[in-house]
Amino acid sequence: MWLTTQLKHEGQGLDKSRGSFRNPYDIDTPPGADGWESMYPAYLLFDDGMRVRDEEKLWFFDQMHNPEPLYPFDLMMPESWLVSLNQYTTRVWNLPTALGIEHRIVNGRLYLSPNVIDDPALIAEREPIFLERARHYFENWDAIYENWVGKATDCIERLKSMSFSPLADREPESTVTSARGVTTAFDLLTSYSRYLENMHEMAYYHFEMLNLAYGAYLTFLEFCRSHFPAITDDLVARMVAGIEVILYRPDAELRRLAARAVELGVGDTLKSGGEPDVVIATLRESSVGCQWLEELEDVKDPWFWYSTGAGYCHANRAWMDDLRPPFAAMADYVARVERNEDLSRPLEHLRSERERIAQGYRALLDDEDAVAFDNLLALSRQVFPFVENHNFYVEHWHHSIFFDKARELGAVFVSAGLLDEDDDIFFFHRYEVYQLLYEMEARWALGVPTRSETIWRSEVGRRRRIYAALEAWQPPPALGVPPVTVTEPITVTLFGINSDTIGRWLEAEHGGGDEDSFRGLAASPGTAEGLARVVHRSEELEDLVQGEILVCPLTAPSWSIVFARIAAAVSDGGGIMSHAAIVSREYELPAVVATGVGTQVVHTGDHLRVDGNTGVVTILQRANVNGVAKGASMSSQREEVGS
């Protein structure tokens, strides 16, 4: 059992006497957020009828995917992964010891709870089915993965080809001449359905291979730990990690384009740091500039379908829609090329390091164990391209287009006078959008209003105010009662939920921790000291000053472009295989993830020490009180956590 293993590794089991987290049924609504429940479907709220069961479970905050309050429309992502991931666990693979991961929303935040099977008879019944089915995937992994890339790409292409157009005053004549029978209003409705189905489809592909891939990785990790108790997760990851990974490709393309700009003699224009529109206009004035822009265009699809977040919130725009992040990065890279720095990733070095570490550990094992090591490492490496690459296909490429298509539909409602702005659509759940669609169709059909025109728009206003009030709420890392075991590989690997994490959170919850230091998972080795910069969303990244330590709810891979500037990264969420951890290691940056409390206890300007070897973050000196209001609110939140 995965967590059982973790417990043994870490030498301390979960001690019930250490207590529980706050009861999920006793969480206060933040001021101004009354009625927040109305933004979300009832099946995602804590239900009084389930109280006896639900308050006895552990619910952990999904900081990794949705650090900010959920927009109702963006619930499409968690809701689709709830069914796809869990169907694979529960019904497809029949994982013997795990059922699905439940979802609940509290004050706009998503909380997750894994489920264990402990009935030996049921475990025994599921095991042979699981073994046979999972073996089929492992034995045919490469062929299935190749096919997966085809399916994923096709799903994305179909999404791309969908469009939502405003209804014209008159139905096109072709409807009549072709005797079509149905209208463009009907097209909108069917397109919307296909659009939602497309998201569900991608979510299935997302989890088709992920449980098994994490399982293979965890098995190797566990084998290594049993022989080398001191081995860090980071070292195991470095033995397994791929070298030419699609996830690094967008950044690699920026580096290449920067070098190309210098070559063509337009480096200065890029380096000017102006708004992308201005830079592009200047480039258009010269033929070499035009040539560079053509090369940029060749790269953009698909590599600029790269979200500035984790890919789960529409507000994190992809580079495709917001050129400022890639242009800022290229300005940096141009300067470095001009200083004759080699910006290419040292592939040979990375490859030889990977082998050196693997061979170094292998050499410490006796013969039989060395063969086992080889086999388990080979299996991990075989499954790993999927782990690393699915992230680009799903979260960046597909999700970014998905959100853009929602804006297209939003524009349809704006043109029909139902909404004020394209983005207002995100304040409605996808099933509420069916009502919007119907009401629009009805008005279009009737030729007269259905009801007061302002109904939907004022509802947006109400929800916008609630949303702002929810943003001020500091979600605790966990609620409810810690479990005895967790058997679900994704919970452990991706979310980093183990006895250690839970113990640290409990300590923070009950004020047992040292308030000048806190712990997380050591995700990338090295130590660094510097001033903290607390960043909640990608727009705030601009404030980062060279040498500062990034403290954030999570680090999205696309934030890698600021990694050249920072000394270390600390994130509230994330496991060792989280996007944040992978990229930090790639950039050889000390990183501590899954602290649970980093953004709550650290203020911008605090002097920190980050130890990426031990996972300890120490506040060496508090910032001068330069932001009185902020400092005051932070300390009151700390008191809340400690009470």
Binding site: M1, T4, T5, K8, H9, E10, G11, L95, P96, T97, I123, E127, F130, L131, A134, R135, F138, E139, L212, G215, A216, L218, T219, E222, F223, R225, S226, H227, F228, P229, A230, I231, L235, R356, I357, G360, Y361, L364, L365, D366, E368, D369, V371, A372, N375, L376, A378, L379, T487, P489, P525, N613, T614
Partner: protein
């Protein structure tokens, strides 16, 4: 096991001390011989064998024979080219330092003998100490395992140039508690290694990863005093360590790397799982060097996961078994060092 051959030489070169001569030269001498044959820098030394002790034991009245005395004097003058080199005189008994026994340190060690006359006196003191009550009771328990033939005859004595250690300590080439082979564990404190070996101070602790050659963990000890050579290197003085120095690490990165390299070299030549005593300091008029002072095997039960499901032959079956919730037997019982 044969009885000590009374016809053996009274004094031998340390480099000639091989494992099969354990009963003649004792465990420490065999360890020193291994270090020399492995090419380590070891302070100059020679060994007064158990044959000399046996000769003394049967003499009546009990006194060192002229031939033994002459052999010691010749070896001392031959090795140190002089009459005034400060040495350590240590007993090297066949019970002590064997890998089955962990009663190291109960035998006599005399630091700072200077001049051949004092050396001869101290060799005799070592022999006498074999009768010390605490040693006797220990040997009485163990003697049947060694064999009756070993009897009371097996005390050899090492005469070794004393290194004026600035810092010294012990090093384990795998974690002594968890058995983790990827770690070298170093304990270090100021001055002669006796402060660490004898448990007088809490040494600085360094755990270094052999594979990455990076520091895995370190903890600062309290190092309140140190033993240093004094009085023209003729005596050993116990000095207080200033608060500032106590707060500093006793080893720098280069020194840690040199020790790591020594560990790797010795494991390659002598096998896995070694407990090494070392010192960084000067011997005679030489400059500062890293010396290996002693080596012995450590016995840690090897760590291994249960390979049920056979990852050696079928990694998929093993992985599926793990995913199905089968426990990996023989799990580590604690995370190293935390």
């Amino acid at each position: 096991v044969n009885a000590v051959d009374l016809q053996q030489e009274y004094v031998v070169e340390t480099v000639e001390c091989h494992p099969h001569q354990l009963l003649q030269v004792g465990g420490k001498s065999v360890g020193l011989g291994s270090l020399l044959r492995a090419g380590q820098r070891v302070p100059d030394s020679f060994v007064v064998t158990a044959a000399a002790y046996a000769d003394w034991l049967v003499s009546e009245p009990r006194r060192m024979s002229d031939s033994v005395r002459a052999a010691i004097e010749e070896a001392y003058r031959g090795l140190f080219q002089g009459d005034d080199v400060t040495v350590a005189v240590r007993s090297s008994a066949t019970i002590e330092d064997s890998s089955e026994s962990s009663c190291a340190g109960q035998f006599r060690t005399f630091l700072g003998a200077g001049g051949v006359r004092q050396v001869v006196e101290q060799v005799e003191e070592c022999w006498l100490s074999a009768f010390a009550p605490h040693v006797d009771s220990y040997r009485a328990d163990r003697v049947h395992e060694i064999g009756a033939a070993a009897d009371a005859s097996a005390v050899a004595v090492i005469v070794q140039e004393l290194v004026d250690a600035r810092v010294a300590g012990v090093m384990f080439t795998q974690h002594p508690l968890t058995g983790d082979r990827s770690l070298v564990v170093i304990e270090a404190s100021y001055g002669l290694g006796e402060a660490v070996v004898g448990g007088e101070v809490t040494p600085d602790l360094f755990e270094v990863n052999k594979v990455t050659q990076q520091l895995h963990r370190r903890s600062l000890g309290t190092k309140p005093h140190e033993h240093r050579l004094a009085d023209g290197a003729h005596t050993v003085a116990t000095l207080a360590v200033s608060a500032d120095r106590q707060g500093e690490w006793s080893l720098d990165d280069n020194e840690i790397m040199a020790l790591l390299s020594m560990a790797g070299d010795l494991e390659a030549k002598l096998g896995r799982g070694l407990d090494i005593e070392w010192a960084i300091g000067t011997a005679g008029d030489g400059g500062e060097e890293l010396f290996a002072l002693q080596v012995r095997p450590i016995t840690v039960s090897p760590r291994r996961a249960s390979l049920e499901g056979g990852p050696q032959t079928d990694a998929i079956a093993f992985t599926l078994g793990r995913l199905a919730g089968r426990a990996m037997a023989a799990e580590p019982d604690g995370k190293a060092g935390s």
